[in-house]
Amino acid sequence: MLKKKTISLLVAVLMLAAAALTGCSSSDSSADASKDGKKVIKFMHLWPEGSSNAQFSIVKNIIGDYEKQHPNIKIETEILGPDQYRDKLKVLASSNELPDIGMTWSDGFIQPYVKGNMLEPLDDIADSQLKDMFIPGVKESYAVNGKTYGLPLELNISYVFYNKEIFKKYNIEVPKTYSEFVSAVKTLKSNGVIPATVGAKDGWPASFWFMYLADRIGGPKILTDVIHGKAKMTDPSIVKAAQEIQNLVDMGAFVKGSSALSNEDAKGYFMNEKAAMFLTATWELPNYTTSPDVKQEFKDKIGYFKFPTYEGGKGTDINSYVGGPGVGLFVAKDSKVKKESKDFVGYLVKEWGKKSVTDAGVIPATKVDTASLKLSPMYVEILKDLSSASNVTTYFDTQSSPAVSELHHDLMTALFGKQVTPKEFAKQQADALAKEQK
C-alpha cells in the first residue's frame, strides 16, 4: 500500500517539476531580441574560462566596457571548448539558428557557411572602423567572391622551436640549410635524443613539416596554386617533399609511434626535454615565455629558428613562412540585431588587438605597435619577423575544403606511419581536389 502511494506521489512530483522547468524557461526562449528593453546580442565563442583564461578575461572585459558605453545592449555569451564548438555550430547552422556573433576559421571552413547564405559581409566595418588596422593579406582569408565574411583575431606562424641546451651539449649549430638540419638530426639520434617530436595522429602538426618542405622545394606559391587548380598535387616537388618526410621517418628523426600521438602527447616530449625540436606555431609562445605554469629554467632553454632552406629547391627565401589566421568573428545574416552586432565586432577586434599580445600572448591579426609595449624578447623578434616576411602561405588544410582537409590529415598520419607511399599520398589528394574543381 505504502509503496503505491510513494510511487504515485513521486510521479506527481516529477510532473510538477517538469511543468516548472518548462514554465520558467519558456520566458527565457521568447526573450530573443530584447530583455528589459535592452537589445540582446548572442555571442558564441570558444575560449572557456578554464583552458583559455587570458582570452576569456580579455573578451569579458571588452564586453563589460562595451555594455557600459551602450547601456541599451546586453551581450550574452555561450562558451564551448573548440571541438564542441565546431559540432554545435554545425547543428545550429542546419537549423538556421546561428548566434548573432560567432567564431569561424578562414578559407575552407567559412565557405560552406557563406555559400549557404548564413553570414553577413563585414566589409563596411573593415573599411571604416577598422581601416588599415589589419596586417595586409590576413582578412582576405575570410573573403569569398571579394566580400569579407569574417574578421580575424589571431595570426599564427610556424617555427621550429628547439632546446638550446641540448643543441649546445652536442655542439649543434642552428641549421640554416636542410643538409645542416639532417646532420643535426643524425647527431641527436646517435646520442640517443629524440630529434623532433610531432603529433602526427592529429594530421595538422604533421602537415607543418610537409608544408615547409613543399615551400622550400617547390617554392612559396606551390601549395596555394594547388588549391586554386593552377598546379597539381602530383607535382614532382610535392612528391619529393613527401619523400623527404619519409626519409626523416626512416632516419629516426621523429618520436617513435608519432602517428598515434596527438599534438598534446607529442608536446609532452618537448616540454619534458626528451625531444630537441618541435615544429609548431606561435600559439605555443606563452609556454616558452610568459605562462606561469611552466618553469623559468625550461623557458630559458627554448629558442626558435626558421625552417631551413633546401639545397636546389625553388623556395630560396628563409623568410617565407607557413601560417595563417586562427579564429575570426562572423555576424549571422539572420540576426535581428545585425547593426549592433557589427558594431560590437568592430569594437572587439580593435580592443582585442590592443590587449591580446600582452595579456594572452596571442599575436593578433591587427598591427601591433611593439615600441609601446613591454614584451618578452621572443615576441619582439617574432613580430619583427612578421613585418619582414616575404610570404606567409596559409596552412594547406585551412585553405582546402573540409573534405580535402580531412583527407589531407588522414594522409599526413599515414605518410608518417609509412602506410602510404609519397606517390599515393600525392595522387589521392590530387584526385579529391580534381573532383571538387570539376
Binding site: 500500500m1 509503496k3 503505491k4 510511487i7 513521486l10 510521479v11 516529477l14 517539476a17 517538469a18 522547468l21 518548462t22 524557461s25 519558456s26 527565457d28 526562449s29 521568447s30 548572442k42 558564441m44 570558444l46 575560449w47 572557456p48 574560462e49 578554464g50 583552458s51 583559455s52 583564461n53 555561450e78 562558451i79 564551448l80 571548448g81 573548440p82 571541438d83 564542441q84 559540432d87 554545435k88 547543428v91 545550429l92 542546419s94 537549423s95 539558428e97 598534446e264 602527447d265 608536446k267 609532452g268 616530449y269 616540454m271 619534458n272 626528451k274 600559439w283 605555443e284 606563452p286 609556454n287 605554469d293 611552466v294 618553469k295 586562427g326 579564429v327
Partner: protein
C-alpha cells in the same frame, strides 16, 4: 534473517562432502582463484587511483612521466580551479536534477512497458518490443540535427526538458531490453494467484511484480544513472545557458584551442565521480538485499 541461517547451514555441510577429495588441491585451487580475482581487482581499481594522481599533476608531468608516477608537488589548486573556473558549483545541481528525474522516469516507464509486453497478452506485444529494441540501434550523432530541429519547433531549446526527455527516450530501449530478460524468468504463479484473488492489474504490478524485480531495477538504475551522469553531447547541443549545463560540460571548460589543462580536467572528473560512486555503493547492495527480501516473502 532466515537467509543467514541458510547460508551457515550450507557452508558447514558442503565442505564436508568435499573433504574426501584432496583438501590441499582445493586450497591451491582457491589460492589461484583469489590470485586471479585479486589481479583483476587491481586492474579495475587502478584507473581511479591513476585519475586521482593525474588530478594533482601539472600538464608537464601528465605528459612526461609514466602513468604510475606520483606528482612531485601535488597541485591541489587544480581542485579549486575546477570548482571556480570550471563552474562545477553551478553545474553540479543540474547534473543531479537531470539524472534523478530521468532515471526515475526511465525505470518506471520501462517497467510499465516490460510488464505489459511480457506479462500481459495482446497481439502487438512482439511488434512493440521490437520497436523499442530497434530504438537502441540508431547512432547518436545521426539524431542530433533532427532532434535539434524537433526541439526547436517545440521551443524546448535551452530548456532542461529537452535533456531529460532525450535521456529518457534514449535509455528506454536498453532498459526495457535488460528488464525483459529478467521478467521472462519470473514465475507467473504468484501473479496468477493474485488474479484469482481478484487483485487489480495495477496492484499486481506495483505490489507483486515491481518488488520482485527490485534487484534488476537497482541494476538498471545504476546503469541509467551512469549514462546520464556522464552524457554531454545532448547538453552541449541543446543547452546554451550556463545555468542549465551539467558537470560533464565542466570538463570541456578545460579543453582549449591550443592548450588543455589536464590537471584541472582530472580534478573535475574526480569531483564528478564522487556522487556516482556513493550512489553506486548504496544501490549495488540493493541488488542483493532486494533478493533477500523477495525470497523471504516467497
Amino acid at each position: 534473517m532466515s537467509n543467514v541461517a541458510y547460508d551457515l547451514q550450507t557452508k558447514t555441510t558442503v565442505p564436508n562432502s568435499y573433504k574426501t577429495s584432496s583438501t590441499l588441491g582445493k586450497r591451491i585451487g582457491f589460492g589461484i582463484l583469489y590470485l586471479i580475482l585479486g589481479i583483476i581487482a587491481v586492474v579495475q581499481i587502478y584507473p581511479l587511483i591513476w585519475l586521482f594522481l593525474f588530478s594533482l599533476k601539472t600538464n608537464q608531468e601528465v605528459f612526461g612521466m609514466s602513468p604510475f608516477s606520483f606528482p612531485h608537488d601535488p597541485q591541489w589548486g587544480n581542485y579549486a580551479k575546477a570548482w571556480t573556473q570550471g563552474h562545477i558549483n553551478l553545474y553540479f545541481f543540474n547534473s543531479v536534477l537531470y539524472t534523478v528525474i530521468a532515471v526515475v522516469l526511465t525505470v518506471i516507464l520501462a517497467s510499465f512497458v516490460t510488464f505489459a509486453v511480457t506479462r500481459m497478452s495482446w497481439k502487438l506485444s512482439g511488434l512493440v518490443l521490437g520497436l523499442f529494441m530497434a530504438g537502441y540501434m540508431i547512432p547518436l550523432h545521426s539524431t542530433l540535427i533532427p532532434l535539434f530541429s524537433f526541439f526547436k519547433t517545440l521551443h524546448l531549446i535551452n530548456n532542461p526538458l529537452s535533456i531529460i526527455l532525450s535521456y529518457v527516450a534514449f535509455n528506454l530501449p536498453i532498459t526495457i531490453m535488460i528488464l525483459s530478460g529478467f521478467y521472462r524468468t519470473l514465475p507467473r504463479e504468484i501473479e496468477e494467484a493474485a488474479v484469482m484473488d481478484g487483485c487489480s492489474i495495477h496492484r499486481i504490478f506495483f505490489q507483486i511484480t515491481l518488488p520482485m524485480t527490485m534487484p534488476v531495477l537497482s541494476t538498471t538504475i545504476i546503469i541509467n544513472m551512469i549514462y546520464n551522469w556522464n552524457e554531454f553531447v545532448f547538453v552541449n547541443t541543446f543547452i546554451s545557458s550556463d545555468k542549465w549545463k551539467t558537470i560533464t560540460v565542466g570538463v570541456n571548460n578545460f579543453v582549449g584551442q591550443y592548450l588543455t589543462d589536464w590537471g584541472a580536467i582530472g580534478a573535475t572528473l574526480i569531483i564528478s565521480i564522487i556522487p556516482v560512486l556513493i550512489a553506486f555503493f548504496i544501490l549495488s547492495d540493493r541488488i542483493v538485499e532486494g533478493i533477500a527480501a523477495g525470497s523471504v516473502k516467497g
